[in-house]
């Protein structure tokens, strides 16, 4: 299952945090900053899988041949879109490449909802962000992977607020969704 979904920008400011276990606020912040330090030091050419941050690594038992999976998070997948990092923390029951696709679907659905999504959209409409995530993941379990259904699910909850036209501050992630390719 997926243990946490994080979105933060290039300077480490969180834009979305969703933990599927109840964690203390300060612990959340620590985890975010640890992952940010790891992620921000990686060159663009590196692969999208992170080593475990110290906070998580200390409690991870090695999988034994008899017991291939366990409950401790062991996989951190991230993707970098323009100014934003999307992070998934998951256990070994998830497939790494499929998680990359999941991020892709998430970003594409945001792109649909906001029409050329940018970081400001996420700041001002972070409720929509949560709603979209809620359509895809419930309690850390993936419930929907189809772009259309996610989008219609969020739209069904009510009108998605459009970004106010404020030319000049558009940190512009033009065609955010067009970046990257899927493995589906």
């Amino acid at each position: 299952m997926i243990n946490a979904v994080l979105v933060f920008n290039n300077s480490g400011q969180p834009r979305l945090t969703k933990f599927y276990t109840q964690l203390d606020t300060s612990m959340q912040q620590r985890l975010i900053s640890e992952i940010f330090t790891l992620v921000s030091h990686r060159p663009a050419s590196a692969c999208n899988f992170l080593p475990l941050p110290p906070l998580l690594a200390s409690t991870t038992p090695a999988p034994t041949p008899n017991q291939p999976h366990n409950d401790t998070p062991s996989l951190i997948t991230y993707r970098h879109y323009a100014t934003l990092y999307f992070i998934l923390i998951s256990t070994s029951t998830e497939s790494p490449l499929a998680l990359l696709d999941l991020i892709q679907v998430f970003v594409e659905s945001l792109d649909r909802l906001f029409e050329n999504v940018c970081e400001l959209d996420l700041i001002f409409n972070f409720e929509t962000l949560h709603a979209a995530l809620g359509e895809m993941l419930v309690g850390g379990v993936v419930v929907e992977t189809s772009l259309e259904k996610v989008v219609s699910g969020v739209r069904g909850q009510g009108k998605v607020a459009k970004r106010r036209e404020t030319p000049g501050i558009g940190v512009g992630v033009e065609g955010l969704g067009a970046i990257g390719r899927g493995w589906r």
């Binding site: 400011q13 969180p14 834009r15 979305l16 969703k18 599927y20 276990t21 109840q22 964690l23 203390d24 606020t25 300060s26 612990m27 912040q29 620590r30 030091h41 990686r42 060159p43 050419s45 590196a46 692969c47 999208n48 899988f49 992170l50 409690t59 991870t60 038992p61 017991q67 291939p68 999976h69 366990n70 409950d71 401790t72 029951t93 497939s95 790494p96 490449l97 499929a98 990359l100 696709d101 700041i123 001002f124 972070f126 409720e127 809620g134 419930v138 309690g139 850390g140 379990v141 993936v142 419930v143 929907e144 992977t145 259904k149 699910g153 069904g156 909850q157 009510g158 493995w183 589906r184």
Partner: protein, 973 residues
């Protein structure tokens, strides 16, 4: 209310930045109960983000949740469904279960799939959920008319549940198989394959069934993720093993490996490279030959700019080495290490200025200066990652080579050469010398100490492979020489190796030319600045080297030779003298001992007449006998325990009954330093054998004015009374020498009495001999335990002689006392197991869970009720472990809070309660913590009443910052 919702929304945003909003939980509840959907949504979101296990208002929300779950509007209904997994507790689950179950048959598929997922989380805290919900979930899975995304969601949770109790899901295999073949949904296929990978070990017939579709998928699918998961499933499901020997088995194995190779080579995508290497790593355990066929690709990955890919490739190469390709693999990695300054630059390009570029990083391994300087510069301004990576590489190389008692190493000369080169490549500043000052080597962290790891290998080879010993000595000698000529080359990082090199040189140097060279490096003045631990090893090696330098040409004792030897001894004395005031007690003590010995020796030399053919007896006979005796052999770590405890040894008996008085006297008479040195010398100098057979208090008379009383004790030990007396006096003198108050007389007396004493000792022969050896022996065992006890174990088990080189095995006491031995042998494994269990318990708290669920799934009987029962147990154990883990994390967090920002007392109070509350579900299920669960309900309302006062104020402040600009300003801070 609208205003309140907006304020809450902003509060959620601030919470994301780490601002505590637990005080607002009552308001969250208020907004949740709003009739209007948008506001309700904000409330639920706030509950998800801010409710913690200690949030008391949650129990007030039960009715609200019940109402919303059965709301007629799908959007409203899904709000509690996605919120529940975050806030669920077992009591809440109990009361909400009956409302949730009907939702499984709701007309809207959206609701159905969310309900399934929510039920899964419910089951984690309240296992009884499954008993009621499983039949319906199963129906959904079996229903072919069901909406595909609902089926996918069910498959997802079945996969999650599957690895915990695979047996329960075997019955679903046919349906899952159909889904895999027919569905065409890659997401679902991936999950199903993952599930099958856990099922196949239980049902071997599945393998035959699965093989064709999997092969088909691997061949045809365009989706990389599915391809990878297929291969992964083939590996993890044991399909490779299951089809061993059969034609299809070979086929699929080579197909998988071929595809993986394709993923690395053709695609050029770092992610694919990484996962392909991961898969290779899993195959390598069972099929090393298959993997080593693709050595070229893997070696290519070692040079990849991405560190994580490199580490994977490195792991892989360690797994696939055999005696044929070991040399090439190691050479390749070494090559990278030598060129490291360049490659680490490319790894994080642009983040650093071009300070470290000029290094002539050619592959010149001989000149360590050239290759090492640049790295030092690099590390100054780049993160420590490269250094860590270097350490990992070196450790991997050592592990590769030493695996299975050097089963893969054919050419030991090459290995020693490699070790020497590795020393030069050890990164700087990996360990501070303060770690060395720590003293006995036990507290050196293993990670930091690559230098000593290399040294340990060097010594290990020297001890185990007798044919290569001279080579090892030469290598050690060259290392010492390097440290002499340029101290900076081996600064900090490489210094760990010196202690071992010194030991090897001292113990095994057998040609006098080498010994002279070794002496030169050992008593070089630069050695004074080395870490204390290294100096200790040096000190011990010096007399040994002296002996081997002198004793090989006994026959002609000419005047020329006499001057040479006396000059050497004089140099040693000169070297030792400053060390007697060394801050480290161990160094001080050893140097004082040997200084005395050397002074005596030099007197013996001067007083010895040239006419005699032999050299002075002291030099030719007495001192050598201190160091020669039994051959030193590796001792298994467990052997020590098998040494029988002597009957007359009572470890609990006080050494001295008048301890208090003794201490008082010590305060008056001696400084603290000498007191400590006294103890140190007692434990280190005394032969271990004697320490066992004689109660330690025979040392005490040294404090008393008259030495008489203990001599009765001493007569047991085949030593003459005179000898005992002399030794006693000797020791007292040595002790007094450290004491500033006794400086005056020691030189005079030592000159006269010790030669006699030493000659006496030498006549006692064997006994004395044994005295000195165990000191080194103990050292060996100690280090072995510290650095690599597990591999020692491996070595012990493996008794194999590769090729012509004989590799000495660990010695164990087997023949001594068979009856006793067996007794100890029986208890030994138990003890070891206990130790291991203790260790893992400390390491990970959730390990208990894994072993638990494993057991239960093994013992599962086919009957449904028992299965359910065990399922509950498993879930309960899981939940308990989860709670325990969370509790620990909270504890850590609260400690951190207190340490960092000094939250007011209010904050800490909340933390305390949190801990209690967390135990609450445990208390209910285990009936252990009755007191805490009783207290809770009373405290809850109080708190809820108390908080609003604070909240109102805060709420008033909130609207003030309601426009976006202000909010941004806050968030920018």
């Amino acid at each position: 209310m609208d205003l309140k919702a907006t304020a809450l929304l902003k509060l959620i945003y601030l919470e994301m930045f780490g601002h505590d909003m637990s005080w607002a939980s009552f308001h969250v509840l208020e907004v949740m109960s709003c009739p209007k959907y948008p506001q309700k949504r904000v409330g639920y979101l706030a509950a998800v983000q801010s409710f913690r296990p200690d949030t008391e208002v949650l129990m007030l929300a039960t009715n609200l949740l019940k109402k919303d779950i059965s709301s007629p509007l799908p959007p409203t209904m899904s709000l509690p469904l996605i919120t529940l997994p975050h806030i669920i507790t077992s009591s809440l689950a109990l009361s909400l279960l009956s409302d949730l179950l009907p939702r499984l048959s709701h007309s809207n598929p959206n609701i159905r799939k969310k309900t399934v997922a929510a039920l899964y989380r419910l089951a984690l805290v309240y296992p009884d959920t499954l008993r009621a919900a499983w039949p319906k979930i199963k129906d959904i899975l079996m229903d072919e008319e069901e909406d595909s995304s609902v089926t996918a969601a069910v498959v997802n949770i079945v996969c999650e549940l599957g690895w915990r109790r695979p047996r329960d899901f075997l019955a679903l295999a046919p349906r899952l198989f159909d889904l895999l073949v027919d569905s065409g949904n890659n997401w679902m296929a991936i999950k199903i394959i993952k599930l099958f990978a856990t099922l196949t070990p239980l049902e071997p017939r599945l393998i035959k069934k699965l093989l064709p579709p999997l092969t088909n998928l691997i061949r045809t699918t365009p989706a990389m993720s599915l391809l990878y998961e297929c291969i992964n499933g083939v590996i993890q499901g044991g399909i490779l093993e299951g089809t061993e020997g059969a034609r299809e088995g070979e086929e699929i194995a080579s197909l998988c490996v071929g595809k993986l190779r394709g993923m690395i080579v053709v695609e050029g995508d770092p992610n694919l490279k990484y996962v392909a290497l991961l898969a290779f790593n899993r195959i390598v355990a069972s099929h090393p030959h298959l993997v080593s066929m693709h050595q070229d690709v893997i070696m290519g990955c070692i040079d990849d700019p991405d560190i994580s890919i490199r580490l994977q490739a490195l792991d892989l190469s360690a797994g696939m080495v055999n005696s044929d390709n070991l040399v090439t693999v190691v050479e390749r990695i070494m090559q990278q290490l030598r060129n490291a300054p360049l490659s680490t630059k490319t790894a994080d390009d642009g983040r650093r200025n071009t300070l470290g570029v000029e290094p002539a990083a050619d592959s010149d391994g001989e000149d360590a200066e050239e290759t090492l300087r640049p790295t030092a510069e690099l590390q100054d301004d780049s993160p420590a990652l490269p250094a860590e990576y270097r350490v990992t590489i070196i450790r991997q190389i050592l592990e590769m080579c030493s695996n299975d008692t050097y089963a893969n190493v054919v050419d030991f000369e090459w290995y020693i050469d490699t070790l020497v080169q590795l020393v030069k490549l050890v990164p700087f500043a990996i360990q501070s010398s303060s770690e060395f000052q720590g003293g006995d080597g036990r507290n050196q962290s293993q990670e930091a100490n690559v230098g000593s790891a290399i040294g340990w290998e060097l010594r290990n080879v020297a001890v185990r492979v007798s044919t290569i010993r001279s080579e090892a000595v030469r290598a050690a000698n060259s290392l010492l020489a390097i440290s002499k000529s340029d101290n900076s080359v081996l600064s900090s990082g490489g210094q760990g190796v010196l202690a071992f090199a010194a030991w090897v040189v001292g113990e095994y140097s057998d040609s006098s030319a080498l010994s002279y060279a070794a002496m030169d490096s050992l008593i070089h003045p630069k050695a004074h600045s080395l870490p204390a631990l290294v100096i200790c090893a040096y000190l011990q090696a010096i007399p040994k080297a002296l002996v081997s330098a002198v004793s090989h040409e006994l026959s002609d004792w000419s005047s020329e030779r006499k001057t040479m030897v006396s000059l050497l001894v004089a140099r040693i004395i000169h070297f030792l003298e400053p060390l007697t005031t060394h801050p480290n007690l161990e160094v001080q003590e050893r140097s004082v001992e040997f200084l005395e010995l050397m002074r005596v020796t030099s007197q013996a030399i001067t007083s010895h007449s040239v006419e005699n053919d032999d050299g002075p007896l002291l030099l030719t006979r007495a001192i050598p006998q201190l160091f020669t005796g039994f051959e030193l052999n590796p001792v298994a770590p467990a052997a020590q325990r098998k040494v029988p405890l002597p009957d007359n040894l009572d470890l609990d008996a006080p050494i001295n009954k008048d301890l208090a008085g003794l201490l008082q006297r010590a305060d008056q008479d001696f400084s603290l330093d000498t007191e400590a040195a006294e103890f140190e010398s007692f434990y280190n100098q005394r032969p271990t054998q004697k320490a066992i057979s004689s109660p330690a208090f025979d040392k005490l008379p040294a404090f008393e004015p008259e030495p008489e009383p203990s001599s009765y004790q001493q007569t047991e030990f085949s030593l003459s009374d005179a000898d005992v007396l002399l030794r006693r006096r000797n020791e007292r003198r040595e002790r007094n020498k450290d004491d500033p108050f006794y400086i005056g007389n020691d030189d005079v007396s030592s000159g006269t009495s010790t030669p006699f004493h030493d000659i006496l000792r030498s006549t006692n022969g064997e006994d004395v001999d044994v005295d000195s050896i165990p000191i080194m022996n103990l050292d060996l065992g100690d280090q072995g335990l510290v650095t690599d006890s597990s591999s020692m174990d491996m070595r012990k088990q493996k008794r194999k002689r590769p090729r012509k080189v004989h590799i000495a095995k660990d010695e164990n006491i087997d023949n001594e006392d068979s009856g006793m031995d067996q007794n100890v042998g029986v208890t030994n494994p138990q003890q070891r197991a206990k130790d291991r269990a203790k260790k893992s318990l400390l390491q990970v708290d959730s390990s208990g869970l894994s072993s638990f669920s494993l057991n239960s799934s093994e013992t599962t009987v086919g009957q449904l009720d028992i299965e359910r029962q065990e399922a509950q147990d498993t879930e309960m154990a899981k939940a308990l472990a989860e709670v325990e883990r969370l509790r620990l994390e909270m504890q850590r967090a609260s400690e951190r809070i207190q340490a960092t920002d000094g939250t007011p007392a209010e904050g800490t109070l909340v933390k305390k309660k949190k801990k209690k509350k967390l135990k609450d579900p445990v208390g209910e299920s285990m009936a252990q913590d009755e007191e805490t669960s009783h207290i809770e309900p009373q405290q809850g309302p109080q708190d809820a009443e108390g908080t609003p006062v604070v909240k109102k104020k805060k709420k008033k402040r909130k609207p003030a910052i309601s426009n976006p600009e202000d909010e941004k300003a806050i968030q920018g801070n």
